[in-house]
C-alpha cells in the first residue's frame, strides 16, 4: 500500500510537509494514531534519515537535527562521517562516575543511572538536563535502597 504512494511519500518527506504526511498516513494506515505537529516533525526527520530514496543532503540535515535535539537518528553508521562534513553536530552524552568502597554498589548504581539516561533519550529529552538529572537521582536512590535498605 505504501509503495503505491512512494512518490508522494518522498516528496512530503523532503519538504517536511506535516499536513501532507498526515493525509498520506491517514490513507495508508487509518487505524494508526497520528502525532501532533511537533511529533510529526520528529517522525518525519527520523523517516528521512532512514529512507534511501530521500536525497542525501536531506538525510544528513535530519540526522543533525535529531542529534542536536537528543533524538536517535536512523542514518546508517557508514553514512554519518559524510553527513557530519555537511552538517557538523554537537553530540551529547551524560557522564556517570560513581565511586563506592564496594564494586558491586558501583556497578549497580551506575547501571541504574545509565538506564535512566537512556530512557530520557528514548523520550527525546536527553538535552533536558534538569529532567535527566532528576531521573538519574531517582534511579540512584532506588538502587541504593535496594542494596542497603536505606
Amino acid at each position: 500500500m505504501l509503495a503505491h504512494y512512494a512518490n508522494e511519500l518522498v516528496g512530503y518527506l523532503e519538504a517536511v510537509d506535516v499536513e501532507g504526511m498526515r493525509m498520506l498516513w491517514g490513507n495508508v494506515a487509518p487505524h494508526m494514531p497520528l502525532h501532533d505537529d511537533a511529533g510529526m516533525v520528529v517522525a518525519i526527520h527520523m523517516a528521512r534519515t532512514q529512507t534511501e530514496a530521500v536525497r542525501f543532503k536531506h538525510r544528513a540535515y535530519s540526522h543533525a537535527w535529531l542529534i542536536e535535539r537528543g533524538y536517535p537518528s536512523l542514518l546508517p553508521d557508514e553514512m554519518k562521517p559524510r553527513a557530519h562534513q555537511i552538517y557538523p553536530v554537537i553530540s551529547s552524552g551524560v557522564g556517570i562516575a560513581v565511586r563506592s568502597k564496594y564494586e558491586e554498589v558501583r556497578f549497580a548504581v551506575e547501571g541504574a543511572m545509565r538506564d535512566a539516561v537512556l530512557d530520557a533519550e528514548a523520550a527525546g529529552r536527553l538535552t533536558d538536563a534538569p529532567f535527566v538529572k532528576a531521573r538519574m537521582a531517582e534511579a540512584r536512590s532506588y538502587a541504593v535502597k535496594k542494596l542497603f535498605g536505606r
Partner: protein, 142 residues
Amino acid sequence: MSISDTTENAILNLVYSATTWANYAINASASPETNIVVALHTADPTDSGTQSSSETTYTSYARANVARSTGWTTSSAGSVSPAANIDFTAGTGGSGTINFFSTGKSGGGTSPILWSGGVSPTIAAGNGVTPRLTTATTITLD
C-alpha cells in the same frame, strides 16, 4: 559502615570546588590545582589507569579544563555536576566511540584520575562532531 552524606559532600566540594572542609582540610596553599581536567576515553581507563589510558584519539581532540572556582555545582546528596556543558573541540578527522570520561589533574599525559565513569549514550567521534558532556553529568560518592 558507610560515609555520611555530609562527609561525601565535603570531600566532593573540596576536590571539585576547592572548598574548605571545615576543621579537616583546606585547599592546597602552594600550587593548588585551578582546574579539573576532563578527558574522553574509548574504553574504561580503570582504577589503575591514567587519563591517557584508552584516551580518544580523534583528530583535533584536546582535554577540557573546568575551573574549580566556578565550574562545578555545590555537592548535594553526595554528587556534583558541571555548572555548564563541557564541550570538547570538534573533530576534524579520525573516529572512535566515546564510552567513558575521566576527571583528573592538569599537566597532560599520564595525569592521575580523580573519578571516571561511563558516558551514556555513547558518542561517535569523528569529523564534524563536537562531543559534549551535558550538565546532567554526575559524579557521586556512595
